[in-house]
């Protein structure tokens, strides 16, 4: 009996030590679920990304090469990056302007509620509106024609990308305003008072005090907006289906179509690529967080 017991103590000393026992019991159900549903299968995905789908033979990097050379992947990655590059700066600037303003308004709270509301509306509930608004004979073209401007077939031309951008900003504006306002609230009023006593103007106060104090929030907002930007797939899919106009063909469309074709090898490689890009982003975020902590 002694021998196995000692072995057990060596290999599971962490689990056995009394210091950690309670904490591990609390964490275990969650960690076990995460391991079964995420960690182990993702390890399998990494393995598959180096193997052929059916024969499961080792193919080294050829799946990755196939993904990078795939026209649909290039298109989807380009659109996703373009979407991020256009929408995030727009969203950040618009929400900052709104937050700086609302911050000092008595009724700001109510206006903020209005901006936050789109977050609560299920995508499916407003799909009908997007369809009616942006149809070739739809409301938007109707309004434009009254002004003497000829419209476009919004969802089937390059405008589709911009429609998606507007929908994204509409949906995320409130979320971002709340974040900015929390950042603004954390700047102490004393600094402002001191600056005013020294005779600084509104613009100078904004650029020299407000903006520097908001920088850490800016990093956070950028990363969260980036992650929320993946969710516009819902709007794109519900309005335009599996194969939308190519200007709004996103990575999730591509994954869905590969899934339907059972191109699991390409899916595996692409999932690893996207995960890596996001991991790098999170490491950057973590550095900012740590720097904040040291302050």
């Amino acid at each position: 009996m002694r021998q196995p017991r000692r072995l057990c103590r060596q290999s599971t000393c962490i689990l056995r030590s009394k210091k950690y026992r309670a904490g591990i019991c609390f964490l275990l159900p969650s960690l076990l679920g995460v391991t079964i549903f995420v960690l182990i299968p993702f390890a399998d995905v990494i393995r598959r990304s180096f193997a052929a789908t059916i024969t499961e033979t080792w193919v080294r990097l050829s799946n990755y090469a196939a993904v990078f050379q795939n026209y649909a992947f290039q298109l989807a990655a380009k659109n996703t990056l373009r979407f991020v590059a256009v929408c995030i700066p727009l969203l950040i600037l618009i929400s900052l302007a709104a937050a700086v303003f609302l911050h000092r308004q008595i009724y700001g709270h109510y206006v903020k509620t209005a901006f936050l509301l789109p977050m609560a509306i299920p995508t499916a509930s407003v799909v009908l509106l997007w369809k009616i608004l942006f149809h070739e004979n739809g409301l938007l073209n109707g309004s434009l024609s009254k002004l003497g401007i000829s419209g476009a077939d919004w969802m089937n031309t390059n405008y589709a990308f911009w429609i998606l951008a507007v929908v994204y900003i509409w949906k995320n504006l409130g979320y971002t305003i709340v974040l900015w306002m929390a950042g603004l609230a954390s700047i102490s009023a004393d600094i402002y008072d001191a600056a005013k006593v020294d005779g600084a103007g509104e613009w100078k106060i904004f650029t020299k005090i407000t903006v520097p104090c908001l920088l850490p929030v800016l990093y956070m907002i950028t990363v969260l907006s980036f992650l929320n930007s993946f969710k516009v797939f819902r709007e794109a899919y519900l309005v335009a289906g599996d194969y939308p106009h190519e200007s709004m063909y996103l990575l999730q469309h591509l994954f869905n179509n590969w899934f339907t074709d059972l191109s699991l090898d390409k899916m595996a490689a692409a999932a690893v690529i996207v995960a890596l890009v996001i991991l790098i982003l999170i490491l950057m975020l973590q550095r900012v967080w740590d720097r904040e902590e040291k302050k």
Partner: protein, 279 residues
């Protein structure tokens, strides 16, 4: 003066932001003839344009009655959605609250690495986890069942992270005092942790509700049988020919989310802030 103008601009923007809700509400109170009349240019090939009124000319509850009395399909999808959301949130509570407390206040081996793992996982979009989810669900023979949606969502690390942020702010001195009085870890968790962290638990559940009431990608991938679909996936399939029913269903899908939103806007905002800011 300039401030007043700017405030006016903001209010007008806010109204534009809320326009979609008013639009859908208006449509839900219209009769068949009125909707057909407005939407005709989209249903036929013509050069005319769609028009719209935010106040129906002849308001009617006809489609509401039809939805309540004569649409078993809608109810099945509605209950699918309710079932999915309730079970997911219950599972997240059961597994997530103790985990968040452990990460925030208990002794763990490699605490920073564990927390970092949870943060990484919470930020992965569905396209990254799609194939791995599929592989494990296929192995467990869960594809095309509600469990395929529920189980992976129960172990989402996002609520754990949000609750962890709130639990972290519980003062350490309080826990020390309780330990000196001889309270065990479970007792401390139940009598100090849960009451003081309840704001975080509610915030996480609210963000979760809005997320899971809105499920699209997961049921689309893992549920082949249409009768298992949640409302969020079924709604857009109602064609414009049945616009009346589509409008009323849209309102019905929106109401639970709206009630949650009105009831807990402050918690929602706290949750949003917790997701980004370091105290």
């Amino acid at each position: 003066m300039g401030r007043k103008v700017a405030f006016l601009v903001l209010i007008i923007t806010a109204l534009i932001v809320c326009y979609p809700i008013l639009f859908i509400l208006a449509g839900s109170f219209m009769g068949e003839a009125e909707i057909k009349n407005y939407l005709l240019p989209m249903l036929t090939d013509s050069d005319a344009f769609v028009t719209w009124q935010l106040i129906p000319e002849m308001p009617t509850l006809r489609y509401y009655v039809e939805l309540l009395l004569d649409s078993p399909e809608f109810f099945r999808m509605f209950w699918n959605s309710v079932k999915l959301v309730v079970l997911i949130l219950a599972g997240q509570l059961a597994a997530g609250v103790p985990a968040a407390w452990a990460l925030a206040k208990m002794k763990l081996p490699f605490p920073r690495a564990l927390l970092f793992l949870y943060i990484i996982l919470m930020m992965m979009p569905f396209q990254v986890t799609m194939l791995s989810n599929y592989l494990v669900l296929d192995t467990l023979k869960l594809l095309d069942t509600h469990s395929a949606i529920i189980l992976p969502a129960v172990f989402s690390t996002f609520p754990v992270f949000i609750m962890h942020r709130f639990f972290s702010s519980v003062p350490e001195a309080l826990l020390e005092a309780a330990r000196i009085d001889g309270a065990g870890e479970l007792l401390i968790f139940v009598h100090i942790g849960i009451p003081l962290g309840s704001g975080g638990i509610i915030s996480a559940m609210m963000l979760g509700f809005l997320e899971y009431w809105n499920l699209i990608e997961q049921p689309l991938t893992f549920l082949k049988t249409k009768s298992l679909w949640p409302l969020s996936l079924y709604l857009p399939n109602i064609s414009l020919e049945n616009a009346g029913i589509a409008f009323v269903s849209s309102v019905a899908a929106f109401i639970p989310a709206l009630l949650i939103f009105i009831g807990g806007q402050d918690y929602l905002e706290q949750g949003i802030v917790a997701s980004a800011l370091k105290e």
